[in-house]
Amino acid sequence: MALLEVNNIHTYYGNIHALKGVALRVEEGEIVCLIGGNGAGKTTTLRTISGALRPRDGHIVFRGEDLAKYKPHQIVEKGIAMVPEGRRIFARMTVMENLEMGAYIRKDKQKIAEDLEWVFELLPRLKERRRQVGGTLSGGEQQMLATARALMTRPRLLLMDEPSMGLAPVLVEAIFDTIVKINKEGTTILLVEQNALMALSVANRGYVLETGTIVMEDTGEALKKNPRVQKAYLGME
């Protein structure tokens, strides 16, 4: 049984039919990436999975359970965490407070403290800045904080929306290194990226989304070699 199964979901914004039967699957332990052009519906897909949007049709099954009956905050408790697009951290809270908010749903103080150490180990830069107010962090640090905060929910599945957006190449590499590390330590990841080359390099499998439907599915390596993908998303002729 797959960890996450998205079965033909249709999501609307009012009359706008944004997702027209998206189907995808994420196995335990995988990194799966979802690539596609601007407005293809990548963010919409992630927001539908996290419960912020409701599909009008189709099912989302997580660990064998249909998520339709859960509210967004309950879905977090089921083990799906989201790193939203555009580094949305709590700007007026310190790094520590942001991370504490991440652990909001958890009760076990001991485990939380351990995870805090773990997160600081993954992203040592945050430890140095733990007293700093979120809004004054650099863009890259904010992205790290958003990631760390999501990790503090101890998710089984981490949804990441364009973690590399707007970052310098060095930092992009650092972020992808972190993604791989997080994955190696046992968190399954569904990754949305414009930076298709990097994303496909780290992903086990990938999906290509175009105007609300999945048009291709393959392993990361295979997609990287696919001429259509190369032309449309990797900027190669």
Binding site: F90, R92, T136, A174, I175
Partner: protein, 563 residues
């Protein structure tokens, strides 16, 4: 000489501006109105200060903008600025002789010109005015050339003389309640203003104090934790004692003001939870205040005669009603954000007011006639019980309410719930993505705020003993919101400071009669310009407005490049 030329131009411009301000104040009528309101008896009136003040201020600007550094040139600059202002005033007076300005400006009267001319014959008097204007410039310039320590002493001395002088009448009412102790101070005042001797004494005292304090560290750092604790408890105890004796120190009239300010503090603390902590813009906050007050009224007034409960029997019911109303209003609006929320809550506030006003509910709520003879709270038991009736007695009830509510507000702010509110305020979507139940969280904020407002309402009913729909206007909500903004959004001490500034200050300004709101408005604008984050902002907000003052992270050693 290019520099010098621009300096002259600047001086001329400052002078014109200073003169223009004086003329403006004159034409509004305040100069005439306050020409007999003395700051120092028979020496300088508030009206005169309004003429000289702008001239002095703008000469100061001229000096500060001047590029010349030579003292002589600076003095000359200031004199030019002062003389220019004087000429503007003269021009007004001259124009007034030629054409009838009164047709357009009611206050361009002969009285005004006489004030300009120091009540002398017009021509020599106005020449004297010109001379004085130049002299003011020269004095200001001289002042700026003094060493810092003396400057500090003079400015502080002047500030106190002006403030105390202006507050002369109020201080008089306070002194009247002091009995024989007042003799210690009475000699400083004559006819609601400072006596010349009193002014000199006050100037020397406050100025001397500034002189002595200049350059000294503000407070000695106490390192011994035991001593620190002692000092902390000492100040707290002293402050507590002061609060307890305040009505006795200040007398009846001030107690009434304190009570009003207190009620606003109480409600401010509640709305601060909703707006400041949780970021929900609630413009109908007065509704819960009305619900609290009306519940007490309906339950206790023998005039309506339904229940005839005592105040304390009705009190918990009123709180429950306010709380439930908070939940009730909370439910439909939880999905809304920002502007929509503001509009709907505003509507709710008006609905409550109109219901209370309606003929339909008149048999129960009294309609326009309101509810009279609301039971006053009784405290104590048996023979030792008293009915709280006077403003001074009610002060303690309100004080107790504030202490309780402030304590709860602090605890809430530092609690897990408080954090959750803050997260919701910062970014609702993300907060939900952290597993926060935003519906429940918003609802608690709303209900807590409503509860606090309800407490305010019950105390209000107890305080005035009769309530009318007109006490629950939309303006009350706006006032509470404003005091939170002035104090600093989300800051608990800010609520206190904001309420004092916004509700207390206008009372103190009664001195200014119908010009009260003019000065008050000016003070508010100045306040928001100099401290946009509020008078006592929450630490987090301060960061938002003064990004550059962000404390550096504690470890500042070289940071490794990769994460």
């Amino acid at each position: 000489m290019q520099n010098q030329y621009t300096d002259w131009k600047q001086a001329l411009r400052s002078g014109l501006l200073g003169g223009a301000i004086t003329v403006l104040l004159s034409l509004i009528g305040i100069v005439t109105a306050f020409s007999n309101t003395y700051i120092v008896n028979k020496v300088i009136s508030f009206g005169e200060l309004l003429i000289v003040g702008p001239i002095a201020a703008l000469s100061l600007v001229a000096i500060q903008k001047a590029r010349a550094r030579h003292p002589g040139l600076l003095i000359l600059t200031a004199i030019i600025s002062g003389l220019t202002s004087g000429l503007v005033i003269l021009a007004l007076a001259g124009l007034g002789q030629v054409i009838n300005l009164r047709a357009m400006f009611l206050n361009a009267s002969n009285d005004l010109y006489a004030i300009y001319a120091y009540k002398q014959a017009l021509v020599p008097g106005l020449l004297l005015r010109l001379l004085v204007s130049g002299l003011v410039g020269a004095l200001v310039a001289g002042f700026t050339l003094l060493p810092g320590r003396i400057k500090a002493a003079i400015s502080q001395g002047l500030l106190y003389v002006i403030l105390v002088g202006l507050m002369g009448r109020l201080i008089g009412t306070v002194l009247n309640t002091w009995g024989f102790v007042a003799i210690l101070f009475k000699w400083m005042f004559v006819a609601n203003s400072l006596s010349p001797i009193g002014a000199i004494f006050l100037f020397l005292l406050t100025g001397g104090l500034a002189y002595w304090r200049y350059g000294r560290p503000k407070t000695k750092q106490i390192t011994d934790p035991k001593k620190q604790k002692l000092v902390r408890w000492g100040t707290l105890g002293g402050f507590g004692l002061l609060l307890i004796f305040l009505p006795n120190i200040l007398g009846m009239w001030f107690s009434e003001i304190l009570d009003n300010v207190g009620l606003f503090i109480l409600m401010g603390l509640g709305l601060n939870i909703v707006v400041g902590f949780a970021g929900l813009l609630d413009l109908g906050y007065v509704a819960f205040y009305a619900i609290g007050a009306y519940t007490i009224g309906v339950l206790t007034s023998p005039e309506l005669g339904f229940f005839n409960l005592t105040f304390w029997q009705a009190f918990p019911i009123a709180l429950i009603m306010a709380f439930l109303a908070g939940v009730l209003l909370g439910l439909p609006i939880l999905k809304m954000r920002g502007d929509y929320l503001a509009i709907v809550t505003l509507g709710f506030g008006e609905i409550i007011r109109i219901l209370v006003l309606s003929d339909w509910l008149k048999p129960w709520l009294g309609g326009t006639q309101g509810i009279q003879r609301i039971q006053r709270p009784v405290v104590g038991i048996g023979e030792f019980s008293i009915t709280l009736q006077s403003q001074q007695q009610l002060y303690y009830l309100i004080l107790a309410g504030i202490v309780l509510v402030a304590f709860v507000a602090v605890r809430l702010r530092d609690s897990r719930l408080g954090r959750t509110w803050m997260a919701l305020r910062e970014d609702e979507d993300v907060a939900v993505a952290m597993g926060i139940n935003h519906v429940a969280t918003k609802l608690t904020a709303f209900a807590m705020g409503a509860l606090f407002s309800g407490i305010g309402g019950t105390l209000f009913a107890a305080k005035i003993g009769s309530i009318y729909p007109s006490s629950f206007q939309f303006l009350v909500s706006i006032n509470i919101l404003s005091l939170i903004i002035v104090g600093g959004m989300g800051s608990i001490p800010g609520v206190f400071v904001g309420a004092l500034a916004l509700m207390g200050l206008p009372e103190l300004m009664r001195e200014f009669a119908e010009y009260r709101y003019l000065f008050y408005g000016a003070a508010l604008v100045a306040m928001m310009l100099t401290k946009p984050e509020g008078l006592w902002p929450e630490a987090r907000h301060r960061l938002e407005f003064h990004e550059e003052e962000t404390p550096p992270p504690e470890e500042s050693e070289a940071v490794p490049e990769s994460a």
